[in-house]
């Protein structure tokens, strides 16, 4: 039974600890906004680059230390052209070399440890599968993470 004295975020932290242990990527529980000093992530969504693909997205073999991030990376591989039209709300859009949410899933992008990057990709994937347009997905992501 839940303790009536448990705090909301203590509850979530406890859930995460149970659900993800003994995964070594416990660091993933931190939001990028916190790790980056809470920068606001306002700004226009980028225009998807013509011909963009998922060739630079980290493959599953490179995510052994972050198994909980696998579904989000699968989403990035499935719909790179959608993710390339989304500005990430976690704060990493301010980083040098960043173009779009897709950038978070390439190279040493922070999606492997950021709940917000992962959540945006999974939400985009879910909405795209239900037939939503890029504009509708952007609106939903702004509502959820903006």
């Amino acid at each position: 039974m839940l303790s009536t004295h448990m705090t909301r975020r203590g509850f979530l932290a406890g859930c995460a600890a149970v659900l993800l242990a003994p995964a070594p990527a416990r660091r993933s529980h931190a939001r990028c906004t916190q790790s980056m000093g809470g920068h606001p992530a306002a700004g226009p969504h980028p225009t998807p680059r013509p011909g963009i693909d998922a060739s630079k997205v980290v493959p599953a073999a490179g995510l052994a230390d972050a198994p909980e991030a696998l579904p989000a990376f699968e989403a990035a591989r499935r719909i790179p052209q959608i993710l390339d039209g989304i500005r990430c709300h976690c704060g990493c859009a301010e980083r040098e070399g960043f173009y779009s949410l897709l950038s978070c899933f390439e190279g040493d992008g922070m999606a492997r440890m950021c709940l917000v990057c992962q959540g945006q990709a999974r939400l985009a994937d879910r909405l795209e599968k239900s037939g939503r347009s890029l504009d509708e997905i952007r609106t939903a992501i702004d509502a959820r993470y903006g």
Binding site: L2, R8, R9, L19, L115, G119, A140, A143, R144
Partner: protein, 295 residues
Amino acid sequence: MRPAAFASLVLLLAAAPAGAQIRASERARVSQVVDGTTITIDFARPRVRGRPVIFGRAVHWGEVWTPGANMATTLETDRDVVLDGHAVPKGKYSVWMVVDSASRWTMVLDSVWQQYHEERPPARAGQIRWPIAPASGGPTETLTWSFPDVTATGGTIRMAWADRVVQLPFRVTPTYPVTTARAEAAPILGRYAVTWLRQDGSVEPTWWPGQTVEVTYEDGALLARWAPKLWGPDPRTYLIRRSPTWYMLGFLERGEVADVFTEWVFEFDVAGGAARGFEVRGERDLLWGRGVRVP
């Protein structure tokens, strides 16, 4: 000057900290963040220094006085606020008080913020003015601006010096307004049976078993009454609109929002003018729970 003496002088000057200077009224700055709004007051701090009477003598009745010294006290807010019931657009203002009598003053915020204390501004466009009533207090030796209390939606700015205290309640522009239009709220209203899920999709039996939530519309906002309650002393939460069908929880303390729980979003499935239920999605878009409309 002999070279040795000159070198000593240079060393002495170099040893003094840059900008170090004793002032009768030292400069100070206080700042407070409330729900993303930062209010900063920059002021000098005169001391009573044994003077038996400040207001009515050192500060004359009728004087336009900056509650500070030297350069006028400034107030800066990076978002619009409501100060003592008066709308103050974001910006930087010099702060003045017209000290009419012991109990009747006028607060003045002047958009020309960089002014010396003797450049007393006349009433003019660009000012926000309203009457205030200083209270007896103190004695306060050194003029002090402070934020003695802070809530989730505002607080109080306090100025105290000698035997007078001015308290100015303020409210910030909420990041997450609780209001929802009645037309958008209507499909959401009703009672739902809630099931909480493990991350593998199976039912989590220990989280609020048998829970229901009743959603009502009160004073322009959606209120959810949870049984059994979630966290905290109040069984109610606000549903805070993020889109026409997506809501976050706003937890209440003493009747006002004290925490917006952005980790979860409630996605209502609206069809035919009424929600059939909702999903609870976490930050990683994982499914945490479901609600199904019940009679």
